[in-house]
């Protein structure tokens, strides 16, 4: 049964999400600007595991009193399909984007996690045996000599089970209304701790389906059921009402179910704006992901 919020229909469906592994990386720097620069660089090209092997985003900017070394920082969440992949991606990204960025240091943001993935203990080799370490309060920190001074990075990072692929579909009368609603939803969802919106600006216009109907080797292809320009084509089972001419999606990765639910709840509410026809969600009939987020239960 359909429900409405401020004139927007909330479709009786669910978002289908998957198990992932996640790490929280705290990047600090001499200033808020450099912390943001490093975090932005670290989370670049990390929109979807399909093509990027990892999904990442800035969870929050941190004040000096919330970071391990008392400097401005950023909390970055990184998601991958498995522990091995997460470890590899962390080493690549911290090594190429944080180690190289002026004034930064890098710390584990999940200290209570029992599963650990080596990061500093791999990156230390950049020091060519001139590196050193300090061990304090059960944690090892590597000091890697660099031209600017020293790069400080924690030996291992915590890793935990997480959920990727929570989503909202915003179906609107036109592109401007869809974008306005999606921007409002993304802004509201970014305030929820424990989640990231990995796509550009938190919004994706190119939602995908698994595989392709017309190309054998494609891992993913356009989700034509929500593409307005092919509505009515033979072989396309459109899900769009007649009045819908633009759709935007917000994908949510979270450290746990509660975080994703909270983000979807505030996002859904914020997206109910003039010009929006429906709020829906993407799923695969419940066959692929075990985490289902029913819109009517948010």
């Amino acid at each position: 049964m359909a429900r409405e919020r401020r004139g927007v229909e909330i479709v009786d469906t669910f978002a289908e999400a998957f198990d992932m592994r996640a790490a929280r990386v705290i990047v600090t720097a001499a200033s808020d600007a450099w912390a943001r620069t490093a975090a932005t660089s670290m989370t670049g090209f990390a929109t979807s595991v399909i093509g990027c092997k990892v999904e990442a985003g800035i969870e929050a900017m941190l004040s000096p009193d919330a970071t391990p070394d008392g400097r401005p920082g950023a909390s970055v969440l990184v998601f991958a399909f498995n522990a091995e992949g997460l470890g590899t991606r962390l080493v690549e990204r911290v090594g190429q984007t944080v180690l190289t960025c002026p004034t930064t240091a890098c710390f584990d943001g999940l200290p209570a996690a029992t599963d650990r993935v080596p990061v500093g203990s791999v990156l230390r080799h950049f020091g060519d045996k001139l590196q050193s370490s300090k061990f304090l309060d059960g944690r090892r920190y590597w000091r890697v000599p660099v031209m600017e001074g020293e790069f400080l990075v924690q030996d291992a990072f915590g890793m935990q089970k997480a959920i990727g692929g929570g989503n909202l579909l915003i179906l609107a009368r036109d592109q401007a209304a869809a974008l306005s609603a999606a921007e409002a939803a993304a802004a509201a969802m970014r305030n929820v701790p424990g989640v990231i919106l990995p796509f550009p600006g938190g919004i994706v216009r190119a939602g995908s389906k698994v595989g392709a109907k017309r190309y054998k080797n494609m891992i993913a292809s356009t989700n034509e059921a929500y593409c307005p320009t092919v509505r009515g084509r033979v072989g396309v089972e459109s899900q769009l009402p007649e009045s819908v001419n633009s759709v935007l999606e917000i994908v949510i990765d979270g450290l746990d179910r509660g975080a994703i639910e909270a983000a979807m709840r505030v996002g859904l509410d914020a997206a109910c704006q003039p010009g929006v026809v429906q709020i829906s969600a993407g799923n695969y009939g419940g066959k692929l992901g075990k985490h289902h987020f029913r819109l009517h239960e948010l």
């Binding site: 391990p68 070394d69 008392g70 400097r71 240091a105 050193s132 300090k134 061990f135 304090l136 309060d137 920190y141 000091r143 001074g149 020293e150 790069f151 400080l152």
Partner: protein
């Protein structure tokens, strides 16, 4: 809570390694009174020397001048010992957890070969703090020792991990054959600081005469000091790291070993 009040200063050192939270937590008052201690070669009872009040607790308070009572808290793993006065040699040796607080002075071998826990001495201490016993290859393996006053020879000898912070002056051979860990010297030290050190960090907030086998590297504020400063600040110790106030001159050595250790000497801006 168990309170032990020293009746009178022993004529010779009293070996009282049984005065540990791990032991007293399991015993009644009568059981604690009957624990064996050694006065020289003679075995005696705890209540020959102490008034005992309370039992079955890992919180111990010792009152009186216990400067001749040795091995207090030996190998303790938990609980708390408060010495309201002075403590004798080998305080907290081999301990791996818990807390020891001494309001007066300590003596030699405080926290020798400890592997965890916290020892805080309000006054002065002797030599060989956190050190390796003679013939042993490794001293302190982890934990924290804080000395409010001065300290003697060979502080942190062969230590591998952990922190020793001495607020007052320190005598010769601080960090001798150090393998790791951190020594903080609030007022500097006398001769041969860091001799034969292989790894580890000696931080001095006062001047230190350096051996010629240490080489100047750079003047900067290492990032890890911010972490250490936060940790020590929680224990009431100030470790400066504000670049507007100064920086640390880093010296590496001891190249006679050769070593990968460092001595960081605070250089206030404008001084």
């Amino acid at each position: 809570m168990i309170t032990l009040t020293l009746k009178e200063q022993p004529s010779v050192p009293l070996e009282a390694e049984v005065l540990s939270p791990d032991v007293t937590a399991q015993l009644s008052t009568a059981g604690i009174r009957a624990l064996p201690v050694y006065l020289g070669k003679r075995q005696r009872r705890v209540d020959d020397f102490f008034e005992v009040d309370g039992g079955s607790s890992d919180q111990i308070t010792i009152r009186g001048d216990a400067s001749r009572v040795k091995w207090l808290g030996r190998a303790m793993t938990r609980g708390r010992i408060v010495v309201d006065g002075n403590a004798g040699m080998h305080l907290g040796a081999y301990m791996s957890g818990g807390t020891i607080e001494v309001s007066g002075n300590g003596s030699d071998w405080v926290g020798a070969e400890m592997s965890g826990g916290l020892i805080r001495i309000g006054g002065n201490a002797g030599g060989q703090i956190g050190a390796a016993y003679r013939g042993s290859s490794t001293g302190m393996r982890d934990g924290t020792i804080l000395i409010g006053g001065s300290a003697g020879l060979e502080v942190g000898m062969r230590m591998k991990r952990g922190i020793i912070a001495v607020s007052g002056p320190v005598r010769d051979f601080a960090g001798l054959q150090m393998k790791g860990g951190t020594i903080v010297l609030g007022c500097g030290a006398e001769l041969r600081t860091g001799a034969w050190m292989i790894r580890g960090t000696i931080i001095s907030l006062g001047p230190v005469p350096l051996m010629p086998t240490f080489s100047y590297a750079a003047t900067y504020v290492p990032g890890f000091l911010r972490i250490y400063s936060a940790y020590l600040s929680s224990l009431g110790i100030t470790l400066p790291f504000d670049e507007r106030r100064g920086a640390y001159r880093r010296y590496t050595g001891d190249t006679s070993v050769p070593g990968k250790g460092e001595i960081l000497i605070w250089a206030p801006r404008g001084a």
